[in-house]
């Protein structure tokens, strides 16, 4: 197509040239001798006219180009004015521009989570600081970010809950985390207290993990490169669980152990959009300490959410449940009394214990929710001391950064304590600064 156009162009130019030459040559052909001098003058005149015309044409073209450029600039200016865009130059010169000294400081937030409780199992009234958490986070460089959480409570004082480094740009959808952090176990075991939808952590989780899954170690997470959400985490830790970590620390453990004494974890999880507004998330957790099969734990978790995204009174619900089976060999368990010496005989013993919870929470209006929770807990060693707890809770958010929650627990115990009872807790939580634990807190 282009070559055809070029050919047509050439032909036209050739025709014009022939016509021009004919015009110029015509006087010579008509009267070659008699008017030779006159013809020279006319030819010079024609040439001069032609050059003048060409010059004028060039000037006109230049003017046209300049006008077009000016029009384009004007159009851009009108667009900028219409869109409210800023001009590139400021009206007045500014003074020296000095970067603020705090420009590179991390994001900082603080949570105050306080509560007032009473009950007949632990008679009396109590104000307590459930959690005072300082959270800081920031990118470290193009490849790494870091975060830390320093938490204090009435019972345990202040301590570093998390201090971790997380990669941000590894290939093959891999993310590596290292330091002290909540191991990726189930759904709520790695949540901070203030993230929970209840005033307290389910007793089953408290007993199995000793609170949150605080761990020192390293984790690798892989996001499958497919359209369906599949995420797998594997990690290696000194141990998993707040109480376990504290026990090691308090007993003067120096942190060195054989490789088989480390805790190894794997957790796959996936997600299904059952409809535009209904979705299901399921996951499994397995971790083990290989040395003498000291500990192995299996867990499953499932969360069904209805998120209609409407503005009516009913705004959705969450059904969530987790269940764990723990098998652990505990040393220094009392085996009996030596009849000869009267001394206590200690030995190791394996305990198979399990526990879990299920809850339902409905969201009403923009700022309210109500829910119920059932929990079954066993001690992981020694007498099982089974506890069943039925809870009801109601939450009000006066704003996005303030929360009031009232919860009643009906507790049924057997074993050593053997008492039934109740507890009522009023929780008041405020968030200073932009507090977010990101995707994990969804």
């Amino acid at each position: 197509m282009h070559s055809t156009n070029r050919m047509i162009g050439r032909a036209r130019r050739f025709a014009r040239a022939v016509a021009m030459l004919s015009a110029v040559a015509a006087p010579f052909c008509a009267a070659p001798r008699a008017s030779a001098t006159k013809s020279d003058d006319e030819l010079a005149h024609v040439k001069a006219e032609l050059e003048k015309t060409q010059s004028e044409l060039g000037a006109t073209r230049a003017q046209l180009d300049a006008t077009r450029a000016a029009l384009e600039k004007l159009a851009e200016k009108v667009d900028r004015i219409e869109s409210g865009a800023s001009t590139t130059a400021s009206a007045a010169p500014s003074g020296p521009r000095i970067a603020p000294v705090n420009a590179d400081n991390p994001a900082i937030s603080f949570v105050v989570d306080t509560e007032f409780s009473t009950g007949d199992l632990d008679p009396g009234y109590n104000f307590s600081l459930q959690s005072a958490e300082l959270f800081i986070s920031a990118p470290i460089d193009p490849f790494l970010r870091g975060y830390a959480s320093v938490n204090g409570t009435s019972e345990e004082g202040f301590g570093i809950e998390e201090a971790a480094l997380v990669t941000t740009s590894l290939p093959w959808n891999l993310t590596v985390k290292g330091g002290r952090f909540m191991a990726d176990v189930g759904r709520m075991p790695h949540w901070h207290n203030e993230q929970l939808p209840f005033t307290n952590r389910p007793e089953s989780i408290e007993r199995i993990f000793g609170g949150e899954t605080i761990s020192e170690g390293a984790e690798v997470t892989w996001l499958a490169p497919i359209d369906h959400y599949v995420r797998v985490t594997t990690g290696l830790y000194n141990t998993i669980g707040a109480e376990n970590s504290d026990a090691l620390f308090n007993n003067g453990f120096d942190g060195r152990r054989s490789f088989n004494e480390l805790t190894w974890l794997v957790r796959p999880s996936t997600y299904f959009d059952l409809s535009d507004t209904l979705n299901l998330e399921v996951g499994g957790t397995y971790f083990t300490v290989n040395q003498d099969s000291t500990r192995s734990l299996f867990g499953v978790d499932a969360t069904l959410r209805h998120q209609p995204g409407t503005s009516g009174f009913y705004q959705g619900f969450v059904l969530g449940s987790e269940w764990y089976w723990n098998s652990e060999r505990i040393s220094d368990i009392e085996q009996g009394i030596n009849p000869d010496t009267g001394e206590t005989i200690l030995g190791s013993q394996r305990f198979h214990r399990n526990g879990g919870y299920a809850y339902a929470e409905a969201f009403l209006g923009r700022r309210y929710s109500v829910g119920v929770r059932g929990d079954y807990a066993e001690d992981i060693a020694g007498p099982a001391d089974r506890q069943r707890t039925l809870s009801a809770f109601a939450t009000w958010l006066p704003s996005e950064f303030q929360r009031l929650r009232l919860q009643g627990d009906a507790i049924s115990q057997d074993g050593v304590d053997g008492d039934d009872g109740y507890q009522i807790t009023l929780q008041w939580t405020g968030f200073l600064g932009s507090h977010s634990h990101g995707f994990a807190a969804r």
Partner: protein, 309 residues
């Protein structure tokens, strides 16, 4: 003859090879809101494949963080965001685990539709006692169709940056979208003329750009402060103000509950207009142009129904 046969064979082979080559894969684009999704689609056409995170009827500040969006972001060539912090409730959390550095805000695939917008209501001081303020300014500029032209320009440039081979196509798409929008903007000026000078109350503080374009006078909000629910005391003050200032229009964004807006309107003799802060929120609307038109019609209808208008 032999030469012709060879030429014919080459031609057939070339045709077959051409047919065997897969069509160029469309650019995978994740858009945060239906507005930027529709504008990107109008510009990109078949060159792009757009997935949207937020739905039109949702409150953009409360969009659920679904894991299925993580995989979309993981495989995306580009993210088109409204910008000015509108997506703060969901996009950072999703990008945190998406393992796709190129669509992070610092990456080449992050297209911010707000880059040519001069923000309004930029807080002079950031303090939560003033409510949930957006530190960069009010991010609801897509309600103004003239500013949408600036959004479209930013999106077209962003798409061309990510997909330089399609730069001409995106420029043509932008020109087509501008023509459609310019025609509609002229019509909407006429349609919305009854709004000029009308005093109104909105549920949330998100109509500053719409009011700026069509001359509405926003008096107050049903929310006590941005993002802070109405208190009884604030509602009493609001009703007194509306009666005193003869405010006859209550604008309820569809993501916010109707009963309270209706109560305020009934106590002040005003009429309620339901609009959508994002495209596709109102029934019967799908794209950005539909949505702007439906919003303006709803506002004009309520103004005409109000006594004394």
């Amino acid at each position: 003859m032999a030469l012709q046969l060879v030429r014919a064979a080459f031609s057939i082979a070339a045709l077959l090879l051409g047919a065997a080559q897969p069509a160029a894969a469309a650019l995978r684009v994740v858009a945060t809101t239906p507005d930027v999704a529709d504008i990107a689609h109008q510009i990109g056409g078949d060159r792009i494949e757009v997935v949207t995170i937020a739905q039109g009827s949702q409150d953009p500040h409360k969009v659920p963080v679904k894991p299925s969006f993580v995989t979309k972001l993981n495989r995306a060539d580009a993210v088109v965001a409204n910008g000015l912090g509108l997506e703060h409730a969901f996009l950072p959390a999703l990008l945190e685990v998406a393992s796709n550095p190129k669509v992070l805000p610092t990456g080449p695939g992050y297209i911010d539709a707000s880059i040519y917008i001069q923000p309004l209501e930029v807080p002079s001081s950031q303090n939560r006692s003033q409510g949930e303020l957006h530190p960069l300014g009010n991010p609801h500029f897509s309600l103004d169709p003239v500013r949408a032209k600036a959004m479209a320009k930013a999106i077209a440039e962003g798409l061309a940056r990510v997909d330089p081979a399609g730069a001409e196509s995106y420029q043509s798409g932008l020109a087509r979208f501008d023509i459609v929008l310019d025609t509609k903007i002229a019509e909407w000026e006429q349609l919305a003329s009854p709004l000029r000078g009308v005093k109104a109350v909105s549920y949330h503080q998100d109509l500053v750009y719409l009011a700026d374009r069509y001359g509405l006078q926003m008096v107050d909000t049903i929310e006590t402060k941005p993002g802070v629910p109405a208190t009884p005391g604030h509602l009493e003050e609001l009703i007194e103000t509306m009666k005193r200032d003869q405010v006859k229009l209550v604008i309820r964004e569809i993501a916010y509950e109707m009963p309270l807006a209706q109560t305020v309107a009934e106590r002040t003799g005003a009429h309620v207009a339901t609009i959508s802060a994002m495209a596709g929120g109102l029934p019967g609307t799908t794209g950005y142009v539909d949505s702007v038109e439906a919003n303006l019609k709803a506002l004009v209808e309520a103004v005409r129904a109000a006594p004394g208008q």
